[in-house]
């Protein structure tokens, strides 16, 4: 069972956008990942607890409602505290409100400890390709 890589998928914060979550679930499963989908309205704690029990290799965090920066503060630190030192964390979606320059937004999220950040409108293929590379599969 462990030959498949496990990812935790969810929508962080008070965010109820469920459609993209279902598409990502389907796409990552098709691509051969073991997807544990914790769905919408997920807190950082929900991601971390799921990752511990599932012995996950990566967290795929979605945020579509513009509050991503607030919801994700301290995410990496909490992972380290919970013993998930090496876990890969991606984030994507409408991370901030308004038309901000994507490079600046990306910079801020990478500085917060995310391994990769994806702009609005990203198709699943890109992150799937990146994750396979980052996990060495």
């Amino acid at each position: 069972m462990k030959d498949r890589k496990t990812v935790i998928l969810g929508v962080v914060g008070a965010d109820v956008h469920a459609v993209g979550n279902k598409i990502l679930n389907h796409a990552f499963t098709e691509a051969g990942f073991h997807v544990v989908n914790i769905g919408v309205l997920s807190s950082q704690q929900d991601f971390i607890e799921a990752a511990i029990e599932a012995d996950a290799d990566a967290l795929l965090v979605s945020s579509l409602y513009g509050h991503g920066e607030l919801d994700c503060q301290g995410f990496r630190d909490r992972c380290i505290e919970a013993g998930l030192d090496d876990i890969i964390i991606y984030i994507g979606g409408n991370l901030v409100i308004g038309k901000q320059d994507w490079d600046g937004v990306k910079e801020r999220f990478l500085a917060m400890g995310f391994d990769r950040a994806y702009p609005p409108g990203t198709l699943p293929e890109g992150p799937i390709h990146d994750l396979k590379k980052d996990l060495g599969v």
């Binding site: 496990t6 109820v16 544990v36 309205l41 511990i52 029990e53 599932a54 996950a56």
Partner: protein, 522 residues
């Protein structure tokens, strides 16, 4: 949990079955004999099918003789439990009391079964990984099998924690951790520590299936008694406790009964078949679902207020009743049991004041104390007294009022802890409501049992604590409901019959669990 004569005082006539029924004082027990049965002389029992049901409590051994066709209680007897010497002595004394009333029925009974909470009950430790996930699922498995949970432990254990388990006279250890294909380090680490320890209690392994063989091997090599069952959480947030519960029941029958010296009565009766809380749960399940021929009562709650704990059993799906609610967290079992160790009415009464909010006590105090002079200080004094005198029966008017207040508050707190909660969060899409735990707002039948309630002159005003009051909008306890009382204290006994004679057990419960109504005074 105290099930003993002390809980029985002469009951008001209104509670007996009618003018013809006879309240008989037998030993220290009051037995309300059904009109029909008073016509039977001892000789009539020769053709009757009789079941003898025993509840071996920590303090008292209680024996009930049942007429299986009519599903009526023929006689009740009780004697102090003699677990320290031969537990059979106490049983024989209780049986003798029964036979004094209705003649020699014991030897010719068709079925002789017992449940037990003696010698500390079924003492368990549950071990998982994350407190909210596998540790929680392991806890439910243990509680659902009628165990007394000594500790619930999470993550990698320390030597100190193992030493603490060793000091608690544990009967069974349930070892979980990791979903299938998930984390394996923790359960392996914990298995190694358990293997190195001096613990002799059987260990049920119910963790990540990928390493179950390895975990079992580590423990077996160290000479431990190991049982392997399905993971209590095979996938994230999917709880699967049936096999674990089954393994606990089986171990109870095979080993725990012997370890506790309860096997000494195996030649007297057909068997000590389950822990007492399990028997209560069997009754709750049967009443809710029906016996296969007759329709059950539907969703219900049983509140068991004991001397040491208050147990709550809910037989209900707990699905959201409000539209647009998002459910989070684990989906809890349909038959969920919780045990509140700090809400007992005698042995653990000292913890009551810490466990119950002052505001709740005051609110209930205003409601129940017609004299209107209730104060927290008065309650503190009262609670200190009852925790010292575990066999005290409150008789003075003031004591009865105070006991009603604290018992109602204990029930309210226990049911509140048992039930699910709503959380509101504001999102760009408006207000969202998140439900965690079971929504019991639509449950309409609440059954009370346990010493304080059964012997109380006004059980309705105490049990009404299980119904939600207006300040608790986000607590998912029943919003209204009909209240019932296990008036002759037979719920545990009936649970023993639930499997072998479901129809009899169901009829028995229907006859002896009766609706109660608002009294004039508390």
């Amino acid at each position: 949990m105290v099930r003993g004569p002390k809980s029985e005082v002469q009951k008001p006539k209104s509670k007996s079955q009618g003018a013809k029924s006879k309240g008989e004082y037998v030993g220290r027990w009051t037995v309300d004999l059904e009109p029909r049965t008073t016509d039977h002389g001892p000789s009539d029992h020769k053709t009757m099918s009789i079941a003898i049901l025993c509840d071996i409590g920590s303090t008292f051994t209680k024996v009930v003789a049942i007429d299986c066709e009519e599903a009526t209680v023929l006689a009740v007897g009780a004697a102090p439990t003699t677990i320290d010497r031969d537990v059979g002595d106490g049983l024989r004394h209780a049986v003798a009391q029964v036979e004094e009333q209705i003649g020699p029925v014991f030897s010719r009974a068709d079925l002789r079964l017992a449940c037990s909470s003696a010698a500390g009950g079924l003492r368990m430790v549950a071990i998982g990984l994350v407190p909210n996930l596998t540790a929680e699922a392991a806890k439910w498995a243990a509680l659902g099998a009628g165990a007394k949970l000594l500790q619930t432990l999470s993550f990698k254990l320390s030597e100190r924690e193992i030493a603490a388990i060793d000091g608690t006279a544990v009967d069974i250890i349930l070892l979980a951790g990791g979903i299938d294909g998930g984390n394996s380090d923790t359960i392996l680490h914990n298995a190694r520590l358990l293997a190195r320890s001096d613990l002799t209690a059987p260990i049920i392994v119910a963790g990540n299936k990928v390493v179950q063989d390895k975990v079992a091997d580590i423990l077996c090599r160290a000479g431990k008694d190991v049982r392997v069952v399905d993971n209590v959480m095979p996938q994230l947030e999917t709880v699967n406790i049936e096999q674990a519960r089954g393994a606990i029941r089986k171990l109870f029958l095979e080993k725990i009964v012997i370890a506790k010296g309860l096997d000494r009565i195996q030649d007297l009766i057909d068997g000590v078949v389950m822990p007492t809380p399990s028997a209560v749960m069997e009754s709750a399940r049967l009443l809710s679902r029906g016996d296969g021929r007759n329709k059950g009562w539907g969703e219900l709650i049983v509140v068991d207020v004991g001397g040491a704990t208050t147990d709550v059993h809910s037989m209900a799906s707990g699905s959201p009743t409000l539209p647009g609610v998002v459910r989070k967290g684990l989906v809890e079992p349909w038959d969920k049991r919780t045990v509140e160790g700090d809400l007992g009415m005698r042995y653990s009464a000292a913890g009551l004041m810490a466990a119950i909010e002052e505001a709740d006590l005051l609110r209930i105090g205003v409601q129940l104390d017609k004299e209107g002079r209730f104060t927290i200080t008065e309650m503190e004094r009262f609670v200190a007294m009852i925790s010292q005198e575990s066999d005290r029966i409150c008789t003075s008017e003031r004591e009865i009022v105070l006991e009603s207040i604290i018992a109602r508050a204990a029930i309210e707190t226990a049911v509140t802890r048992h039930a699910g909660k709503l959380n509101h969060t504001f999102t760009p899409h408006g207000k969202m409501t998140i439900q965690r735990g079971k929504d019991l707002t639509g449950v309409r039948r609440i059954i009370g049992t346990g010493g304080v309630l059964v012997r109380h002159r006004s059980p309705h005003c105490v049990l009404a604590g299980a119904v939600r009051h207006p300040d608790q909008a986000d607590i998912l306890t029943p919003t209204e409901g009909r209240l019932y009382l296990d008036k002759d204290y037979i719920i545990a006994a009936a649970g023993l019959l639930a499997k072998p004679m479901p129809q009899t057990a169901f009829k028995l419960l229907n006859q002896y669990v009766t609706e109660i109504y608002q009294e004039e005074r508390c």
